[in-house]
Amino acid sequence: MNLLFYISSAIAIIATFMVITRYHPIHALLYLVASFLSVAMIFLSLGAPFIAALEVIIYAGAIMVLFIFVVMMLNLGDDTAKQEKQWLTAKVWLGPSVLVVILLGELIWLILKGNPSSVEISVVDARKVSAALYGKYVVAVEMIGFLLMAGIVGAAHIGKHHRKLTHRFLAEPQNGNGADAIQEIQKEPLETVN
């Protein structure tokens, strides 16, 4: 189990490093998928199969597909890769890296000092997760439900559009001046051309 944990952790770290250093957005996102899969493997090796499955279904299977979907629609070519190359200079990444390395040093010191194997591993199955979610944390779950609902309402509001231009065959004559409406519709495309 320990060996599995260390292998998948190493893959997670390498994949995440590749995400940051790739110039091409789709390649970076694919490494991010690999990183999520290795995190799922870490959960599995720590005895949480339910969370591992959800990690793959939700993060690797749904959210990352939507990311790739959006990047595909943007149609970023080689120019963006060049731009990315210009942005990723030592001046940019040196500061944050030094700070993170200090944190890493602290973590290593803590692991060496303490006894890491004392972390007890117990299998958390789907039933336990559900019991915790809908028992102890039911208010938080409902609040998150409201939050997601707000997102859906917002999306529906943005997506709603009133049809301004109907086809002339479908335009219903209103108040007896149907002919005028048809004329207007026929005029509109001409104006856009001018």
Binding site: P49, A53, I57, V65, F69
Partner: protein, 319 residues
């Protein structure tokens, strides 16, 4: 079970599945011909069975061309993803008592996870081809498969509630008396529709749509890479049929005949249904497909979920 037995099960399952996927080429063409009043391939070998060999040889000897404008690495990896993800799903299917590769306690979730990873094959294949028809196919495929995954997952939750487990072995055992198709009819219908959409078979083959998009996401593929998409599709059909049998039709259980034979008979009945659907139904428009999913299937599946939950609670309370 000893290690050798495990190895034999894995090799046996792999051998049978790959042969079924290849054999389905012949079966589908013969059945389509039957339903369309034609003969179909009947020249090579008995009943034209050697058409499978001829097709495979043709695919192997065709030029395997990667377009110079394609993203080579992703172009090569995309067809492998679909075959790998579908084959991984077969790991959890109990073919007969004790004939299962891995008896996972999160079986259904594993199936959903693998089917959601299968989307990448279409999306990446279409994008890496760097062709506008492929890209359109990939966009359609991504939105279709993500949408229908939601209904697929929710339609299975009724079965999970009644069984009280994600394990497929437990689900088969729980159908000892009554198959879930009788207690979960709505769940079954929605799962089958979502399954057809997930494997993007006709009438839901909108990512390919050869009459509008050339061949959709695999327009640029040739040779064995195209063959991989092809095999992935047939494996997907077999997988959805097998999952339907396990989840709603009692798996390997049945009178008189041995369990493995029952499982095969039931699975092939659903494969036939897939082929019959292809022979008989026209393709809907893309927006019709999405509207049908989100406006009809989603409310239905939520009602099914709530009703099942209420009845399950009521039954448990009365005991």
């Amino acid at each position: 079970m000893t290690v050798m037995q495990h190895v034999w099960i894995v090799l046996g399952v792999l051998f049978v599945l790959l042969n079924i996927a290849a054999g389905l080429i012949w079966l589908e063409r013969r059945m389509l011909a039957l339903w369309q009043d034609r003969l179909g391939p009947n020249r090579a070998g008995p009943f034209g069975l050697f058409i499978v060999l001829a097709d495979t040889l043709k695919l192997f000897f065709k030029e395997d061309w990667i377009p110079p404008f394609a993203d080579k690495k992703i172009f090569v990896i995309a067809p492998a993803i679909v075959v790998a993800s579908v084959l991984m799903t077969f790991v959890i299917i109990p073919f007969a008592p004790h004939i299962v590769v891995a008896d996972l306690n999160v079986g259904i979730l594993f199936f959903l996870a693998m089917s959601s990873l299968g989307v990448y094959s279409i999306v990446l294949g279409g994008w890496a081809s760097n062709n506008k028809y492929s890209l359109l196919g990939a966009l359609r495929g991504a939105s279709q498969m993500i949408s229908y995954e939601v209904f697929m997952g929710l339609s299975l939750m009724g079965v999970v509630m009644l069984t009280g487990s994600f394990n497929l072995g437990d689900i088969v055992a729980a159908q000892h008396k009554v198959w879930y198709v009788f207690t979960q009819p709505l769940g079954f219908v929605i799962f089958l529709i979502a399954g057809i959409a997930e494997t993007h078979r006709l009438p839901f083959d909108i990512p390919e749509a050869e009459s509008e998009l050339v061949a959709g996401f695999h327009a640029e593929y040739s040779g064995m890479k195209f063959g991989m998409f092809f095999i992935g599709e047939y494996l997907g059909v077999t997988m959805i049929s097998a999952m339907t049998v396990v989840l709603f039709f009692g798996g390997w259980s049945g009178p008189f005949l041995p369990p493995l034979l029952w499982f095969t008979i039931k699975t092939f009945a659903f494969i036939m249904l897939f082929i019959l659907l292809r022979a008989s139904l026209p393709r809907p428009r893309y927006d019709q497909l999405m509207e049908y999913g989100w406006k009809v299937l989603l409310p239905l599946v939520l009602i099914n979920l709530m009703a099942t939950g209420a009845i399950a609670l009521w039954l448990r309370g009365s005991h």
